[in-house]
Symmetry: C2
Subunit: 905 residues, 2 copies
């Protein structure tokens, strides 16, 4: 039979699952001999049984009676005892802190008799009646689900009648009358009397705390914070102590060091003659904690000593809630305190230096998300700003520049040294040059998984997307905000990718010193390096030592490759080749598609080949000596052509002799021909259509041209004495036969180039595993593949059967709301479904080919939780955007330290 109730003397901090964070830490402090009011904790198991069955477990009542009896004995008073009542608080306390989300009821044990006893005890009639009215109010709201406004209105009326707006001015008689009024509210609203039996009050309150686990706000909070829904909450029943018994009493909060900077010192607030709720309600201004020294030196000294004890004991920053009741200090709560990203790094290394933790522990205490936060520039918080719109915080950072409405113009202006913000309704692959050139990207449409958002995040470029309040007029190169503000091309705007805010004019920006460090602009060993940079350096260096996972980058250009290398990438895990078909090269692709016969097709391919070769020369040079995985063309060809609907409308209008685009008859003919091709290539579901290896098998010479360009580029570098390490990756393979076809063709071309150049290229041929069937037949596929790289984006799309493009607009928010996902499976890998495919493919691929090299190149490669999963499965590397490389290095190190089955928190 489970034990459902633990006295504070029975628990400890390791029992958070069972006792919740608050209960476990109260027990820990009790056992440390700190002054904690006595009490006991009802376990999360009791809560979960209640939530599942709709009833408390039968044994719970007796266990509570037993522990309450012990508490009464210790306190020498009985709960609600008329002449000298024991009062208790009933507080929630889940494993993870959910501040303000769940219920608390104080002053339990008061009724018409015991209120007299409390008055006598406290020596104050006013205090006793005020406590009683608070109980009825909290109980009414929390337990009986009465709208709190009823009580507030009555309180307000009482104050008005008294001609005051402070409840401190209400005297015992006013409060006594208010108690009657409140009882009436309970009667009217809940259809029952306020329960006067103290034990009944307590049982009701416990049940209300249980129920609050499934309150909508709690569900929403858990979802946002990725807290599992099935943990349940514990309930703490604690003897009341009062900070509101006079000026020799009070309540406060404190941190053992500055949660903003990590500096040790005295950080906290204190409020005299008050209870915790008053601090939250902001009734009066709090005092800085230092002033407690003057008010109550013994209590202050004792508090400092306790803080030292706690920090040494917890070996971390702690935050504390305490109450002083008539000069007696009581500890009401402690926990490892939240801190800013910067403080997390500083504290972790400080604690090493203090000898409290070792470097392994320090690395485990900082997260990739914190490191990522430190890598974005920010707007100066104190600057004046004129916000004109708010969109989605699609890619964090702060960017300032002149608004520009098309990508070519953005590129021109950037080339002439101007900072620009690219503003579009939405972006598409053609905007890549503009996005690269711009400081940031602003769109009026599309969500966090829109093209703009995904590409910007990949580049580490600031992006605000879906700012629907903006009316973007591309033709006239301007946008209009809802308040009528018009921004024309060249006007300066500032966008905050961390908050989604759009500002008119220039807002001062602070660059990230952490990025400067990774870029090699700050030497971490020099004096100019800040504590933060030194801390980050120390942590990441150790993570690098520890990790088994290698980290590569996804990069398609020499520039990105160079940055990735500076950021610590150990190769390129994904070099996409589709951007090499855009811009000016689009004409060749169009020729390729419209080609009538082999000759025309070859001519188009021949024109593309040297251009591709040059691209590869650049990338291989940047990554000299490190592996570069080049993915052969993946997207369907019609992506390089105009949109079917747009073109159909254009052609129809031209044929009817109207429309904006009245070109010459040549144009009309060309458009008509193009439309035929677009129609022919149009697919109902392009994601499931003619792309990847299918394209390579259907369009003769296409993949061959790419392989030749790769081989010749590598041979050129070899001839120059460099060391290119080429891996050719075939996308979208579902059956080993597909791969065998392309592999044989590729090997033939590689052999030809090797022969004609005399260079031994040593290139590998492998495949992406991104189609579920590929994972399910990985044993076969490994026979033909020299490496695997998981394309977890497509694997997620096909494994779940939803397309990333359509998902967000259509139903994703609803799914998050319903709790079907705690987090988007495109953001963090779905371990149970998609992860199972990754596991199957890795195991069976390696069984067939023991030296198979296995990595991941989807966006999940840069996601902390996913990295821990990939480490557990035993992949060789993750590959992510250059900007995420340091994050991945850190998380890979943490995964190695924390061990298998871990997540990133």
């Amino acid at each position: 039979m489970p034990k459902y109730v633990y006295d504070f003397t029975e628990g400890n901090r390791d029992l958070k699952d069972l006792l919740g964070g608050k209960g476990a830490n109260l027990a820990e402090m009790t056992n440390l001999g700190l002054p904690v009011p006595p009490g006991f904790t009802i376990t999360t198991e009791a809560c979960n049984t209640y939530l599942e069955t709709g009833d408390e477990p039968t044994e719970l009542r007796d266990e509570v009676s037993e522990h309450l009896g012990a508490l009464e004995k210790e306190m020498g008073r009985k709960l609600g005892q008329p002449d000298d009542p024991l009062l208790v608080s009933v507080r929630s306390g889940a494993k993870f802190s959910m501040p303000g989300m769940m219920e608390t009821v104080l002053n339990i044990g008061l009724n018409d008799e015991s209120v007299q006893g409390l008055a006598k005890q406290a020596g104050s009639e006013r205090f006793a009646w005020d406590s009683y009215r608070r109980l009825i109010q909290m109980f009414g709201k929390t337990v009986l689900d009465i709208d709190g406004d009823h009580f507030e209105e009555a309180l307000e009326a009482a104050k008005q009648a008294k001609g005051t707006d402070s409840d401190l001015d209400l005297d015992e008689n006013d409060l006594r009358a208010l108690v009657d009024t409140f009882k009436g509210i309970v009667r009217d609203q809940a259809g029952r009397e306020f329960p006067t039996d103290p034990r009944e009050q307590m049982d009701f309150a416990v049940r209300a705390v249980f129920d609050s686990w499934n309150a909508p706000r709690a569900i929403l909070y858990r979802r946002q914070e990725r807290i599992p829904a099935d943990l349940g909450t514990a309930v703490n029943v604690v003897a009341m102590v009062f900070g509101n018994l006079g000026m020799d009493s009070g309540t406060g909060v404190a941190f053992t060091r500055d949660p903003g900077s990590g500096q040790q010192g005295i950080y906290g607030d204190y409020l005299q003659n008050a209870q915790g709720e008053d601090v939250v309600a902001g009734v009066r201004n709090t005092l800085p904690l230092e002033q407690l020294e003057e008010i109550d030196k013994p209590a202050f000294d004792q508090l400092l000593e306790i803080m030292k004890t706690l920090e040494d004991h917890y070996r971390d920053l702690c935050d504390i809630e305490f109450t002083i009741e008539r000069n007696k200090l009581w500890m009401l709560q402690t926990r490892v305190g939240k801190r800013t990203a910067g403080a997390a790094f500083r504290i972790a290394t400080q604690l090493i230096d203090q000898g409290l933790i070792d470097i392994d522990e320090a690395v485990s205490r900082v997260t990739g998300d914190q490191l990522a936060q430190l890598m974005f520039p920010r707007f100066d918080a104190d600057a004046d700003k004129e916000q004109i719109a708010k969109g989605m915080n699609a890619s964090p950072g702060a960017a300032v520049g002149k608004a520009v409405f098309d990508s070519d113009r953005a590129e021109q202006m950037a080339n002439s040294g101007e900072a620009v913000i690219l503003v579009r309704r939405e972006t598409n692959p053609d905007d890549l040059n503009g996005m690269i050139a711009a400081q940031g990207v602003l769109t009026s449409r599309g969500g966090k998984t829109s093209h703009a958002a995904v590409v910007a995040r990949g580049m580490g470029k600031t992006c605000v997307c879906g700012a629907e309040e903006l009316d973007v007029d591309l033709k006239n190169r301007k946008f209009t905000a809802r308040d009528g503000t018009v921004v024309e091309e060249g006007d300066v705007i500032s966008i905050d990718g961390t908050s989604g805010a759009v500002y008119l004019g220039e807002v001062p920006v602070q660059p990230s010193e952490v990025v400067q460090y990774f870029e090699g602009e700050i030497d971490p060993d020099s004096d100019e390096a800040s504590d933060l940079v030194k801390a980050v350096h120390r942590v990441i260096s150790h993570a690098d030592e520890k990790r088994q996972l290698k980290v590569r980058a996804n990069a398609d250009t020499p520039e990105d490759s160079e940055r990735a290398r500076r950021f610590g990438a150990q190769g390129i895990g994904l070099c996409r080749t589709e951007h090499m078909f855009l811009g000016e090269r689009r004409q060749h692709v169009e020729r390729l598609i419209l080609a009538e016969g082999d000759d025309e097709r070859h001519a188009a391919l021949d024109a593309l080949e040297p251009l591709q070769r040059e691209d590869f020369v650049g990338i291989f040079t940047a990554m000299d000596g490190l592996p570069v995985t080049v993915r052969l063309l993946d997207p369907p060809l019609h992506e390089f052509l105009p949109d079917l609907t747009d073109l159909s409308v254009k052609v129809s209008l031209a044929e009817a002799g109207v429309g904006a685009d009245k070109g010459g008859s040549d144009d009309v003919e060309r458009d008509g021909k193009l439309l035929d091709a677009v129609r022919r290539l149009h697919e109902a579901n392009p994601m499931l259509g003619l792309r990847g290896v299918r394209l390579g098998l259907v369009v003769p010479g296409l993949f061959g041209m790419q392989v030749k360009a790769i081989a010749e580029a590598a041979a050129q570098l070899k001839a120059e004495g460099k060391d290119p390490r080429v891996e050719i990756m075939v996308p979208l393979v579902g059956a080993v036969q597909e791969l065998e076809n392309i592999r044989d063709e590729a090997r033939g071309i590689l052999a030809e180039v090797q022969e004609s150049t005399g260079q031994d290229l040593g290139a590998l041929v492998g495949t992406m595993i991104e189609v579920p069937r590929a994972a399910l037949t990985a044993g076969q596929i490994a026979e033909a593949a020299e490496f695997f790289s998981f394309g977890t984006n497509d694997l997620t799309q096909m494994g779940w059967g939803f397309s990333r493009d359509d998902v967000e607009a259509a139903f994703f928010s609803r799914y998050l709301e319903l709790g079907i996902f705690g987090v988007s499976p495109f953001e963090s890998l779905d371990r149970e479904g998609v992860g199972r495919l990754v596991r199957i493919a890795t195991e069976e691929g390696r069984a067939a080919r023991p030296d198979l090299h296995v990595g991941v190149c989807g966006e999940h490669g840069g996601d902390p939780d996913s990295i821990h999963f990939f480490a557990e499965v035993g992949l060789d590397y993750v590959s992510c955007s250059p900007f995420r490389v340091p994050v991945a290095r850190l998380e890979a190190g943490r995964a190695a330290i924390v061990g298998a089955g871990s997540d990133s928190r």
Copy 2:
């Protein structure tokens, strides 16, 4: 060390894998004591080693020498012995017969010396030189890869010179000259001399037979016939016997019973003074086998005796090749003979009656494909026909009717009793009423997986699709054939869904008596029942007794349900509800989509509910007492709206004041509003978009309305004393949470209806398993599902990552050509990939819920091979189109008889 060569005395008919069909049967006949010319077989293993390594296994030469030595000893002559030569034939013989696909070389052993010996042996110079010239010709073509025309032309020239067109008129001198000419051709074309060493001739020929396994025509044939590519061929080396030594010699083929009808008797052909090739070449007309009795009574009697021996031994129809050399009968080949579908059923039951096989064996000897063939009506083969086009044979059968170009018109005309053929460019879901009304469907676009083809097959309706020679002019209600023939609305045409032919005018049709039997129109026990009907009845009854798999039907209407029931369906496995949103009801769907606010949405749903209820009442009534699985709405809502591109063009033209559709301003406004909705709902990949359970979770009330209609229909039947057995199926579930949401809503509604009507509905709630993730997390999903039904179409689409709509046009034919698929995975379940998901989900679903009911409702449910797989996995039922139900019953029975791991052949 493997044994590469088997003497005929060493083999037997069970060694087909190793010796090929011909070799195994020659050995079997040898051991039966039948007169088989002596010889030996080189194994498929030798062939495969050769094909893999490019060289014969080293031991092969010695083994061949040994067996050749034995053969020479037995024959008392040596191969090519100048004075008295042994000649041999070298023939291919794979496990499965591949007629005409592979190589044969006869008369090996002849050269300038031994031709003299042969002349002496045979007593005919002419015969010897003719044999020699044939050797050079066959060897040149087959072994040396010389274009056969060179030899034909030389032969032609010789005949011209002689002034004849029969080669029988060429005398020994002409033939001697021709041998010289042929040698010259070899020299010129192959750049080498014709090899005169007999053993070299033989070794060359063996190698040529090996090589012919990978000849393009052989590869193509295997792909069509679904013969694995890695079997290899055996090679038979047999002492030559000659049917062309005079009128006392000859060659023939025979069947032990009529392969067309199954009747026992003497069926075959005989040709005097000829070799096998002459029969094939059609040099002279063959004689009916009966006439051999007059020509050579002893040989005839011996042949009949052998045929009886063979049939008793093989317990099946055998076909035979034989040669008579100077009154001596030689058996050259036998095998179990091919037969028509009808004969297969008749023979199988005849053999039971003859006591040769039992009923289990009889069932295993007929196939579902044969049964399916018997279920289609056919055109009278002898009728005059004027073919005007040929399309794809998309759904077999024969249909005659008036051409009609739109579905409503088709329905009208059908209602007034006219037979119509619906002719469209392509069909879409709106054509359903027309397709139902029509005798057959003809389209000018789309392949075998187009909408028209899939739906027609589902209905068992004749369909020819993609008849690209036809120019269909919908507006003017006519089509034009390539030859200029114009068919206008009302003109009669005939279409043959089995061949793809389109005929002008009426071609007489013969209905299927097997269908009449299944429809209950023919009593199999009555005298009017044909042998075929009796045979089918006997076989299918036994299959029903044996099978463990239940068979249900996919049916959406009462009519289909009734037919399915007559055809033996044990329930409905898939009742789609989307057709209930079409036709006149589309207006409500449009209202639903355009609804602004809850009230409008509810109004639209309220209008649909009673219509749906009536649909269900009809179907539940038809299936009274049997389970009906109703799938909640699956397709995305925009499928019920106009096409984005079409509507965009229409609106643009209307706005420009031009275009065909100049409606009033109301129309323009409505179209504009519609276009907004279409744009909003447009999805880049609708297959991966807002459909199925997602729709149910996003559009409040939609699934609820459907569940209510189902529940009320069931309650109504219950009140009438009927026994509806309802299973509510949630489509496209990927995560258990999705299902839980809908299940809870559905259970609530069911409870309400139960309460309000007082009827206990006992309805189940379950899910389709059609998303890979659902299969991978089936253990979780089974906790919330009372049944699983595999949607193998979507599971194939998502598992392979290609959409059925896009696949065929884009790359499927290329994939079949490259051998990446032997057969489309949409036709026959991919066991390794998609099948693995089926297996995982079944095992893990049942582990979580032992009484989980598991079926399949994709099109694979009617595919023989797939049915055997489903039986092996242990599903409870398959569900297929009503027309395929008998096929599924038969194959399920065969699977039970043949056992696990079987395929349908």
